[in-house]
Amino acid sequence: MKKRVLAVLMAAAMVVGLTACGGGTASTDSGSASSGGSGLIKVGIINNDPNESGYRTANDKDLKATFTEANGYEASFAYSLKNDEQIAAAQKFIQDGVDYLLLSAADTSGWDSVLKDAQDAGIKVILFDRTIDASEDLYVASIVSDMAQEGQTAVDWLASQNLPEYNIIHIQGVMGSAAQQGRTGALDAKVAAESNWNIVTQQTAEWNAETAQQIVQSQIDAGASFNVIYAENDDMAKGAVAALDAANISHGVGKDVIVMGFDCNKWALQELLDGNWNYDGQCNPFQSSYIDEIIKKLEAGQTISEKVVIMTEKGFDATTITEDDVNNYGI
């Protein structure tokens, strides 16, 4: 008896905990139920939990802004960080008879059979943000970021600064993540190729600002000399800068240390605008315009030339960034 009460209580606590924060379950909410079959294109969108990160929040906002009735869509959204819940949501969308299934998969594997069902039902699948391990025949397009390209853009920018010597503190993200691998790869290659590029230290701060702060603090305590902070996201760059500030080491445009970050958070771009940082690389969360374009083409009976669409991603330089950039590209 006591055990049962306890189980119920725990379950209740979990439910309260999870629903309170916007749903870890694959809750589907219909965008507009009123329209029925009035010429609107029905899309089912399966995404990761928007609370996951600033990137995801921006991504979700962008999708919601594009797939509106005004733009000729009837959109339904499902969110989950778990693959099985996402698959269940996909099956529901297939039953509902959507025209397009838009998918940012939690896991790369396990999608074959459900996408086959979609194909059999005549539903076109478009992947965004993340690729999956499945036959290319099962989807019509995939819109992704090229993390290696992001890293390359950043490294190229750094090379263009023409410093006599590069002494770099490299702060990595969670090891093994796509973003970390892409952004580390480009820098590693450059350092190996150039004799005047040196890594002072290369450590992971696991996307954590405070860990980054400690790593840089440790280098400062050791009296290491460096002139570049290459942080693989904005948070870690912020942590690094906090350590620099404490040690009275100047940073930013025309100062002692170049600060580089990624992800283009609005506050980070603001730092660029203020000249405190030097560079921020974009990881584009705005796939919706690409998707919109593809759907429009398909509806018009045209074919898609490129199955994999790689989004253009900018790198912002503090010397050229504008107020508009901050507002348009900041997430």
């Binding site: 870890g24 990160s53 090891m175 400690q214 603090q217 440790s218 400062i220 305590d221 500030d245 040690a247």
Partner: protein
Amino acid sequence: MERIKQRFVISNIFRNQLFIPIAALLIIFIFNLIADPGFFKITLGYNNAGNPLLNGYLITILDYGSELAILAIGMTLVTAASGGQDISVGAAIAIAGSVILRVLCGSDSRSEELQAPIIVAFLIACVVAALFGAFNGVLVAVFKIQPMVATLILYTAGRSIAAWINNNELPIVNDVRFTYFGGLIPGIPIPVPFFIAAICVAIIFMVLKFTTLGLYTQAVGINERAAKLNGLNPVAIKILTFVILGLCVAVCGLIKTSRLSTINYSVIAKDIEMDAILAVALGGNALGGGKFNMWASILGAYVIQALTTTLYKFNVKSNALPAYKAVVVIILVVASAPIVREKAQEIVKKLRAGRVEKEVA
């Protein structure tokens, strides 16, 4: 007679709970002394705002070890009374930090001015963190759920709750006064977190001296039934320890958010619960509850920070860092196991006996 006394002194050193954390700290220091004496160098410098501050690894350890030391206080009491650990402190720090920022920034996450005094934000965070602590405490004390399992709920949900409190925005505080708690007060060259930790330590020692909290938590942790028959209310005492841990969490939330003037819900204070539990273990306190030594836990926290800082100092390759830490931790924890200590005592005793024999001969 003199000799017998001496022998007791030696074996007492081994038996003293402070032995392990002190020995561990000494080993780390000696290692650094040999590898690079620069470890102990402290210099006076100025930060970007022109305020004086001390620089050096020792200062870094004192600075970043603060949160851990504060958490170790609460974790020690929870461990003593309930015989288990709270693994939700990291998530709870995210909640407390989120509350502080929410109150300071109001609905506008980029507001230029503080919407409420910092003290108000901190007190509200204290209340919220204490309530979450009480929630854990009730699950443990009333429903008799194993503490690690009970706190798993908040461990899982806490960071989402933290994000929800701020509508998933990442507020940034633009008031310089807010940076004092995780940084420097102009004119005082020692990091403020160290002072905050010192105040917390002082408070808990006053509490242990002027109340019977220590006796009660230990009695409940060692023998709950007997404690009850001595007029204690084990349920209330366990909840109380979780509430105290909640207050420690609120203080940590203040320091953590102040360090960067913002928050990242998914990584703030990540894995700090493991370090806090380790601090308790390193202090030679039984994780199964019962007797505790608060000094040893607090010292244990700084030992862990010294270890982390040392590893950073030697540029341990990023992905190998946890492995190094694990090895060191294994050694420290094994060394602090009672069975090893007994052996050590025995060996010392034998050595002494051997010497005595020689002298006699």
